[in-house]
């Protein structure tokens, strides 16, 4: 099965499980969250924390898909509207909405999600290429998916979410 390029980025950030024997499949340690009905996942290693959504202040002229900023213990945290970035329509906040705070390319950024599901470990072998429409719909932010039971998790490459100009 051909490996998608996105997989390599993930496996670079693996938390490798202790391997007593030689040929053990490497594991992906993932945080699963949902946007609408679809499940997505990011490497746990990039996630600093998950917080409730505090008041988000709009910033005029901020780059596209930055919903605004919020106060994270005294830090002014930019918050990315993942829904619109991934081609969905914006939606109202609910009590289940959360901000996933991640460190991407040395910067700390928050990503707004509809709800956080759980953390899981999956073997590398569960990773497949993402379907074409998922890849293009996300402007290449999703190039791989992982099978978990009967679910297909969309593996999100956070470093591709914000464009290089940011």
């Amino acid at each position: 099965m051909k490996r998608a390029e996105g997989v390599l980025e993930f496996t670079d950030r693996l938390q490798v499980a202790a391997a007593p024997a030689a040929a053990v499949e490497r594991e992906l340690h993932l945080l699963i969250f949902a946007l609408g009905p679809e499940p997505y996942a990011v490497p746990v290693a990039m996630v600093r924390e998950v917080v409730r959504v505090a008041d988000i202040t709009r910033v005029p002229d901020a780059p596209l898909h930055i919903r605004g900023v919020m106060n994270l213990r005294g830090r002014v945290l930019p918050v990315v509207e993942l829904r619109t970035r991934l081609g969905l329509e914006a939606a109202a906040l609910t009590p289940a909405s959360r901000v996933v705070v991640a460190e991407v390319r040395g910067r700390i950024v928050g990503y707004l999600v509809d709800r956080v599901v759980q953390i899981t470990r999956l073997g590398e072998g569960s990773v497949l290429d993402a379907p074409e429409e998922v890849r293009t719909g996300s402007a290449d932010a999703i190039t791989a998916v992982a099978r978990r039971g009967d679910q297909l998790l969309r593996l999100l490459a956070l470093e591709r979410v914000l464009t290089a100009g940011d």
Binding site: A54, R58, V59, D61, P78
Partner: protein, 561 residues
């Protein structure tokens, strides 16, 4: 470590006893030189004893068969001499010197124990530094190598502690959060004591909270002062830049600097280097004529660029002047009209014309220079300065020269501001950029909307609705084209830039507030209207407006669609 059969091996302890205080004195003097040179002082009197001390340590180490210490002391003598006679290299070199003198002290200290630190690595680095060609003319004064009385200055020296600046930043950040917490406490106390106004409990609580606030402000001021550095640390970079750039452009330019000991917060200094470099680069590339042309015009072939700094109240005023060709107002106006920044008819005031120089697309020369591309647009300079809470303006005498004036706040952390509300969002407007606030009666408001102007203090000033200039979208994700949202705009904040005023229509004024400035996260890019952010007492983030930018018209109203 001296070999055990060395004739003087028995004197190792005496060597350490004699040379360690000398080495520590050398280190202290290097630190003092670092400070003096950073402040633009020559400090020749510090230098002589330093040489003598290093010489003695070298001689003693040589006699004891301690080669590493001997070589290091010798190399440091060379370095100190190189820096004393070559001021251009001091900024980088003094850091190397301080490290080396510290290493020397360690070498001496460990001589008797035999567990010496390695100096080969440092010596290599030092030799590489010394080998770099220095082509600036050496200072004429030849420093005498005399022993002198090494102890005479001991009493006058100030004790210093070296602190990495990121620790100071962390302290300030923590203090900032404490101040936010205090503001929150103040709000909470107000709410809790609502029913008990005038009671002793209420006033006791109130006093305590106010006292806490005052203490924090004093603490902040004291902490901020630890971060104040002389501007000379920035000026020092320019000599070489000017020389290299002028040479590349085929021009002759001399740099003069004054007021280098004026002190600014480290963050401001770190960030103003770039705009200053752009201004100096622009002066050399566009402003200054080639030597032959200057001579024809009756000017000296060598042009002069002057950097000057002075403190005015809570601001520092910096000027970058050149005696070049100056700005041509006619050309500026012509270009501004061509780009649509100025109306086709009528002649704006001269100051306003000069203000056009800071609009995008207005650099007046098209040449590409080999060293720096086109030269950076002045609009970028303006933005950098404004993001520091400062202002920049320019005046010129065509044919005689140009002067840029930068006004920067002394410290960047706390801003006295006016909080305003626009469409349920709060914004902070720096008080320094506000000329006046006005309550708008319905008639005045109507006129302001339809004509876009207001009569204020016998002037006609342009007026703009805050939401127009901020380009806010109403519900998230839905672009809005507000037609007449102005019925709620009851106040006008008259903003001022160096030469302009502009009225900003807002819904309400929420009062004065000292806000802790948080620089814009790079992820937010470069919003046109926002200079920075802050966290208000209730924990919510508010944007700090680039009031000066809005005032001088650099930021226009957004159309719809």
């Amino acid at each position: 470590m001296t070999a055990p059969d060395h004739p003087f091996a028995a004197l190792l302890a005496d060597y350490v006893a004699e040379c360690l205080p000398l080495a520590e004195d050398v280190l202290e003097r290097s630190l003092a030189l670092e400070r003096a040179w950073a402040g633009g002082e020559e400090a020749a009197d510090l230098y002589g004893p330093l040489q003598g001390l290093l010489h003695t340590i070298k001689g003693n180490s040589a006699m004891m068969g301690l080669r590493p210490a001997q070589e290091l002391a010798h190399a440091l003598e060379d370095l100190a001499e190189s820096l004393a006679t070559g001021p251009a290299r001091r900024r980088d070199g003094v850091e190397v010197l301080v490290r080396g003198t510290g290493l020397l002290a360690d070498l001496v200290r460990s001589a008797a124990i035999g567990d010496s630190p390695d100096s080969a690595h440092y010596l290599e680095e030092l030799r590489r530094f010394l080998d770099q060609t220095v082509d600036l003319p050496a200072e004429p004064a030849r420093v005498e190598r005399r022993g002198g009385d090494r102890r005479e200055d001991a009493d006058r020296m100030v004790t210093t502690v070296r602190v990495e600046s990121h620790r100071l930043d962390a302290l300030l950040e923590a203090l900032g959060e404490t101040m936010i917490a205090q503001a929150g406490l103040r709000d909470a106390v107000k709410r809790v004591t609502r029913g008990r106004r005038g009671t002793p409990e209420e006033s006791g609580l109130d006093q305590a909270v106010l006292a806490l606030g005052r203490t924090l402000q004093q603490l902040e001021q004291d902490l901020m002062e630890t971060r104040l550095l002389p501007i000379a640390t920035v000026f020092g970079r320019f000599t070489r830049l000017v020389r290299d750039l002028a040479r590349g452009e085929g021009k002759e330019v001399r740099l003069e600097a004054a007021g280098g000991d004026t002190r600014l917060d480290k963050t401001v200094i770190d960030r103003m280097g770039e705009p200053l470099v752009h201004l100096v680069t622009n002066a050399i590339i566009h402003g200054i004529e080639p030597p032959e042309q200057r001579v024809e015009l009756g000017k000296p072939a060598e042009a002069v660029i002057t950097l000057r700094a002075a403190q005015r109240g809570d601001r520092v005023v910096l000027t970058v002047s050149d005696d070049g060709r100056g700005l041509d107002p006619a050309k500026l106006l012509h270009k501004a009209r061509a780009l649509g920044h100025a109306p086709a008819s009528g002649t704006p005031a001269l100051e306003e014309i000069y203000g056009f120089a800071f609009l995008p697309g207005l650099s007046t020369a098209e040449r590409v220079s080999s060293l720096s591309g086109r030269g950076v647009g002045l609009d970028v300079v303006g933005l950098s300065i404004r993001s520091l809470g400062g202002q920049v303006s320019v005046t010129s005498e065509p044919g005689r020269g140009t002067t840029f004036t930068l006004r920067l706040p002394l410290t960047v952390a706390v801003l006295r501001s006016l909080l305003v509300e626009v469409d349920k969002e709060r914004y902070a407007v720096p008080l320094a950029d506000i000329a006046e606030t006005l309550r708008m009666g319905p008639d005045v408001l109507r006129q302001a909307i339809t004509q876009g102007t207001l009569i204020w203090r016998d002037q006609v000033i342009p007026v703009i609705d805050a939401s127009h200039v901020l380009g806010l979208e109403v519900p998230w994700g839905v672009p809005a084209c507000p037609e007449a949202p102005t019925k709620g705009r009851r106040y006008c904040v008259v903003l001022k830039a160096a030469t302009h005023h502009r009225g900003l229509l807002v819904d309400s004024l929420l009062g004065h507030q000292e806000v802790v400035v948080k620089a814009l996260d790079p992820t937010l890019g470069r919003p046109e209207t926002i200079a920075a952010t802050t966290i208000l007492g209730d924990g919510r983030v508010a944007c700090i407006l680039d009031a000066a930018g809005i005032a001088d018209g650099a930021i226009e109203a957004r159309g719809c669609g």
